[in-house]
Amino acid sequence: MVTDKYFHKKTPIWRDERVLKAAAQIISSLVVFGILYWAIGNFLEITQQRGMPLSYGFLDEAAGFPIKESFIPYESTMSFGRAVLVGLINTLVVSVLGILFATLLGFLIGLMRLSSNWLISRIALAYIEFHRNIPLLVLLFLWYFGVFTRLPDVKESITLPGPTYINQRGFYLTWPHLSDRGALFATSIAAGIILAIITWVVLRRIREDKGRETYFGRVSLTVLILVPLIGWFASGGEPLWFDVPVLQGFNFQGGLRLTTEFAALLIGLAMYTAAFIAEVFRAGILAVQKGQIEAASAVGLRYSQVLMLIIIPQAMRVIIPPMISQYLNLTKNSSLALAIGYQELFAIGKVTINQAGRAVPVFILIMATYLAISLLTSIILNIYNKRVQFIER
């Protein structure tokens, strides 16, 4: 730019790049803020006319609607704010579990897809093509109405060992609870894990520094098992009691219950996302050059070592970025739950809008929450991603 000026002596102001840039920025800001100003002006006028102040005060009013499943205590007499919080937790729970299952299943399907067995590979392909070409909303309807509500009636529940009961009202699992002296056992588990990690780190460093075999893997594993075992005996051998579901009246009582809607959403979401993860996984594995694997085998590494040391680290680099976006997709897709009766953030937000009649404040709250979840996840995973990529170099 500077040289430009010398050649042409003077640049007319409308062609000076700096001026143009500044003008472009000012104009774009004016346009954006102008639209915002106009829109908010309209909004304030409308709200004033109709007497709907933009206030969050209603969050303290009694919600008055029931929520079927909640991981924190909730009654319909509690506030709208509480209801929204319940919704947020429900979203988080189904997302985290969904991500877990989707990852496991996705890796399994991806492996099947890579299998040398033609039939297995084709089954995986059929699975992937089925899920990828049908809208998730339709899939959720199919899962819910086609499978989950057609499970046996409460009185004819499928009984699995445990005992676990499966019927159209949900999955009832026998669930361990800590007994009076269970705290000791719980502490010992935590202590075992911490001690095992410390042993691992210390012994491994010793090996690296001194070059002497310290069997850090085996020792820390022993610690991991031994400490909780001591805790078990110390707590009198019965640190846990099992909450067994029992049929009472209309339904089973006790145990851990996953409702039909939750199960349908979780499985629908996880299976849908797994199809995409399987493809991500396959692409990652295939991205590792054959020569690398051959070279590693030639050096004399065992297949498990090739997998652990050569394939997975390199594949991870390719896998992680698309995986992040799949996880985020799953979280966002959980908002479709309202169609099949699981009350997560969006569903409860919508009910709140209906019952409280405050569309905009609730809506801002919901959007900001989703945004916060998405952005936090991307930040965390991006940091991780950077580290993985860094180690590669």
Binding site: I46, R50, F145, R169, A347, N354, A372
Partner: protein
């Protein structure tokens, strides 16, 4: 990358804080409202001038009612006449009230009310634009005036009347009831303790359920759905012990089951559900028009005027009937002020029939949707609640 995200994130938080801050800043509202006026289109400005013109000659003794009328009075009718269509917010998925036939035509009790309005105003029952709206849409479409009238199975409540729009005249008296399996042996609310209940979300139904069970100190589990079809689908599959909704809907669903006798509608009504068409706030004339059309349909049934005999009835000996039908020489039932024709109500009745005919078309023994006893929806003369001011 993550830094950019961090920036965006903090901006979002900032906006959220601003929004929260706004909640405290209600006093500023009038100041900003004036900016809205500046950008208002020319049409609005003209209206404002008109108001001033009315006010000036009236000077000190201005008549308050006229000034109130000036704000939007008559606009809706004018817009409808220009458009040639009445825009109704309707249901497209509620059997009997607002649904589709095999050719995609909107049919149902609520739709016929909309057609009656169109016939009265425009002389053509087909001159409707049926906008499918969801339960969540009902408030917003009234508040923003997107539709002229909502005929979508909507319960009249004080809060909705205050916040959403103006409700016209109750056209269907419903109440929330319970549908249970006959073999469950349930007959009372108390026996439903601990039951799983299927219910639609975002309606008064959900709240009534909570209130009824809460008052009785009973526990229950609500399975909530957006779609009415989902509620009954889930109930029939056995996902729920009980389905709750307006009794009319329960009757519809029960009729559709393979063995209707396996299901019972309990003799319990836990709420009042006066289903009422509503119009946006601000146009008193339009509110009166819709109300009068509803009255006309009800009065017609009282007088025995049907779509078949409406022409004969014009020469009836009863002066009230002749007035209702707008026979020449009879007194004005208000059509002049309302901007309608003398025979507007006659047109509506000829198009869709009187109240009873509409009811029977969908819910009578030969009804195309399902059969439902008229009960409270009988004329007041037959022991029901359907009653309307006289048309005269």
């Amino acid at each position: 990358m993550s830094r950019k995200l961090l920036i965006v994130f903090s901006v979002v938080i900032a906006i959220g804080m601003l929004a929260t801050a706004c909640s405290g800043a209600q006093t500023e509202v009038p100041a900003t409202a004036s900016t809205g006026e500046e950008v208002a289109p020319a049409v609005e400005t003209v209206e404002v001038i008109k108001t001033v013109v009315v006010e000036v000659p009236a000077a000190g003794e201005a008549q308050p009612p006229e000034i109130i009328q000036a704000a939007g009075y008559g606009e809706t009718l004018q817009a409808i006449l220009n458009r040639g269509k009445v825009v109704c917010g309707v249901h497209t998925e509620l059997l009997g009230f607002g649904y589709l036939d095999e050719n995609g035509r909107n049919i149902g009790f609520d739709i016929d009310l909309c057609r009656a309005i169109a016939a009265a105003v425009l002389g053509d029952p087909e001159a409707i634009e049926a906008v499918p709206i969801t339960a969540a849409d009902r408030g917003p479409v009234l508040q923003t005036g997107e539709v002229d009238v909502v005929t979508r199975n909507m319960t009249w409540t004080s809060k909705r009347d205050a916040e959403w729009g103006n409700f016209t005249w109750i056209t269907f008296y419903d109440g929330q009831g319970f549908l249970v399996r006959a073999d469950s042996g349930v007959t009372s609310l108390e026996e439903m303790d601990g039951a799983t209940v299927c219910v639609t979300t975002g309606t008064t139904t959900e709240r009534n359920l909570a209130t009824a069970f809460g008052d009785a100190g009973l526990t229950y589990e609500a399975v909530t759905f957006e779609e009415t079809s989902a509620v009954y689908g889930a109930y029939e599959e056995g996902r729920c012990d009980v389905a709750t909704s307006d009794k009319s809907q329960l009757a519809a669903v029960r009729a559709g089951f393979q063995n209707p006798d396996d299901h019972l509608i309990l003799d319990i009504t836990i709420s009042k559900e006066p289903l009422t068409p509503a119009v946006p706030t601000g146009d008193a004339q339009w509110l009166d028009i819709v109300k009068t059309v509803m009255w006309g349909l009800i009065n017609a049934e009282e007088y025995g005027i049907t779509s078949a005999n409406v022409e004969e009835m014009k020469s009836s000996e009863n002066a009230d009937i002749r007035t209702l039908l707008g026979v020449e020489g009879e007194s004005d039932w208000g059509y002049g002020t309302l901007g309608l024709e003398a025979d507007s109500l006659a047109q509506a009745i000829a198009a869709v029939g009187n109240y009873g005919e509409i009811y029977d078309r969908y819910f009578g023994t030969e009804g195309i949707a399902f059969t439902l006893d008229r009960g409270l929806n009988n004329l007041w003369t037959n022991g029901g609640l359907i009653y309307a001011p006289p048309i005269k």
